[in-house]
């Protein structure tokens, strides 16, 4: 093992001790939680930060001229700094807090889509997007006359770059909106190449980082993308908060999305003037306590270190692929070169729901269904898959438990 500050041994037992829920018994069995890609569990530090915020320094933010409100405002704006630091944003004013990834993408679809893109221009998505990165663009297409183009994926589950380039060729594409990591296939997409490709054709790039940010270091300056979104609850943070990062000049250009308090500079009945970015996009009382929780989650992940996290995860994925692929009748979806901690599979003779129910009775939580990616299911020729996904706290033993659990499912339906 190499010696150095940057490579810390990743102590999964210590990490697990930080997550109270992992002590939970399910039907009398140890909880094996393999659904972190849907939503991750929360470390004690996040829960404590939220509690502390509500017990000791809670008040509404931004307009209060008193101690509690000043403390809450400071904590809320510090959360913006934490998100800016995490993404290597150019500036804290580029961080807009939303409810979740879905709202962040909708914000771009409304504000950039209706406010900056012109009818006749096109948006490109891919076959492996989450509904959150499909439906807002369909609504934009139907309301605003935007052409919606779909980049195919290869059989190994990667973006087909040649086809993507062809979709961009006519120069009418204003925005490319792609996942940075598939929540079904685990595929990590080549962000820098995508940005270069989009820019070469005059298009902006939005990356849906809902999954990627959990597994990989993200540097929006290095990637050189234009929009990046993620959601707090998958990054070991609270529900009710998400992040939109966008280049300052784009945010300046975009009209506001929701109207209300805090996003205006002045209001009269005749006309309102908008506040400076990012406030222009944050109408009403924001998720204050959730922002504080998110800042703590970010600090938690940073303290463990993305290098260590990625190394841990690679071990898990390799182990899972080797264990699962030796199960007869089991088919794994997605064989990308660069992949994160998500493994989707189908089992001959057992529907994914039945798999999930039978695993549940063994204490093992996996997800079954279309994973909010119906078009991808169609591409794969299935209605649904079962999916195991891994977090900081996942162990190789848990993956063994999954493999054994699947064996029992096979026997049950044999």
């Amino acid at each position: 093992m190499s010696v150095g500050v940057s490579v810390r041994p990743f102590d999964v037992a210590r990490v697990r001790a930080d997550f109270p829920i992992l002590a939970q018994k399910i039907y009398g069995r140890d909880l094996v939680f393999l659904d972190s890609a849907a939503s991750a569990q929360k470390p004690r530090a996040v829960i404590a930060a939220m509690t502390e915020a509500m017990e000791r320094q809670y008040a509404n933010v931004h307009r209060g001229i008193y101690w509690l409100s000043e403390r809450a405002t400071e904590a809320y704006e510090n959360a913006r700094d934490a998100a800016a630091r995490l993404l290597k944003a150019y500036d804290r004013s580029e961080i807009v807090f939303t409810r979740n990834s879905t709202e962040a993408i909708n914000l771009v679809a409304h504000s950039y889509g209706r406010g900056v893109l012109r009818p006749g221009q096109a948006v490109v998505i891919s076959e492996m997007e989450h509904h959150a990165n499909i439906v807002p663009w369909q609504m934009l297409r139907d309301a605003h006359g935007i052409d919606l183009r779909v980049a195919p994926i290869t059989d190994s589950g990667e973006i087909d770059l040649v086809s993507l380039a062809r979709l961009l060729e006519d120069g009418r594409v204003g925005l490319v909106a792609l996942t940075h990591m598939s929540n079904v296939l685990g595929t990590c997409t080549p962000a820098r190449r995508l940005a270069a490709l989009a820019h070469a054709h005059g298009a902006k790039l939005l990356l849906d980082g809902s999954q990627a940010i959990v597994h990989r270091i993200v540097d929006v300056q290095e990637i050189d993308c234009d929009f990046y979104v993620f959601t707090g609850h998958k990054l070991y943070g609270p529900t009710g908060i998400g992040v939109l990062w966008a280049r300052h000049e784009l945010l300046e250009q975009m009209p506001p999305f929701l109207g209300g308090g805090d996003m205006i500079s002045s209001v009269s009945f005749a006309r309102s003037e908008w506040a400076a970015v990012p406030h222009k996009f944050e109408a009403g009382t924001p998720p204050i306590v959730e922002a504080i929780g998110l800042a703590t989650a970010i600090a938690y992940v940073e303290a463990l270190g993305y290098e260590a996290i990625a190394a841990h995860e690679t071990t898990l994925v390799d182990h899972a692929l080797s264990r699962l692929s030796s199960i007869p009748g089991l088919r794994i979806f997605g064989h990308a070169q660069d992949r994160g901690g998500v493994v989707s599979f189908a089992l001959e003779g057992a529907h994914s729901h039945d798999i999930a129910t039978l695993l549940d009775r063994q204490g093992i939580a996996v997800r079954a269904g279309h994973h909010c990616a119906e078009p991808l299911m169609q591409r794969l020729g299935v209605e649904s898959t079962a999916r195991a996904s891994f977090g900081l706290y996942t162990t190789k033993d848990e993956i063994d438990a999954l493999a054994e659990g699947i064996d029992r499912v096979r026997e049950f339906f044999a």
């Binding site: 529907h351 039978l358 279309h370 209605e383 649904s384 049950f412 339906f413």
Partner: protein
């Protein structure tokens, strides 16, 4: 290990789930409907043919779904053959109650025996996320009976 799952996956369910007897489209039919469970991707299409006297003669279906939903669809096809629309509605209501509560409601005599054949589906009530698997085919049936095109089991 799965003792408590035997309630859910009774032999009848596993058997009908594996080898549905009515799992095909009817060439000639009088009504048809589709059903979707938006939350998990289950789908069913069913076709319904009436006999001379107005009773349901046959039901055929094509479904993508789990053991529970296929078995429920197949048992539905079996139990509604030979009864009237109104009786089929009553049976559907009874099945829905059964799946949600685990208890079979009281139904008029001629249906009681049919409902009994559906009892293996009662186990689903302990699995809240699976209740919809059992009820989806019946939603589609109700849709076909009232001439609607789609049903969702939400």
């Amino acid at each position: 290990m799965f003792e408590d799952l035997r309630d859910l996956y009774q032999e009848v369910i596993l058997d009908h789930g594996r080898r549905p007897r009515h799992g095909s489209r009817l060439a000639a039919f009088d009504a048809t409907a589709r059903g979707d469970n938006p939350l998990c991707g289950d789908r069913i299409a069913l076709w319904l043919k009436y006999a001379e006297g107005g009773a349901i003669e046959r039901v055929g279906f094509e479904a993508k779904g789990c053991a529970i939903s296929i078995a429920s669809a197949d048992l539905m096809a079996e139990t509604v053959a030979g009864i009237s629309d109104e009786e089929a509605r009553q049976l559907a209501a009874a099945l829905q109650a059964l799946a949600k509560t685990g208890d079979a409601p009281i139904v008029p005599e001629p249906l009681a025996e049919r409902l009994e054949r559906l009892l293996p589906l009662a186990g689903v009530h302990e699995f809240p996320s699976r209740v919809k698997c059992a009820t989806l085919p019946w939603h589609a049936l109700l849709a076909a009976l009232t001439g609607r095109e789609n049903a969702t089991s939400e």
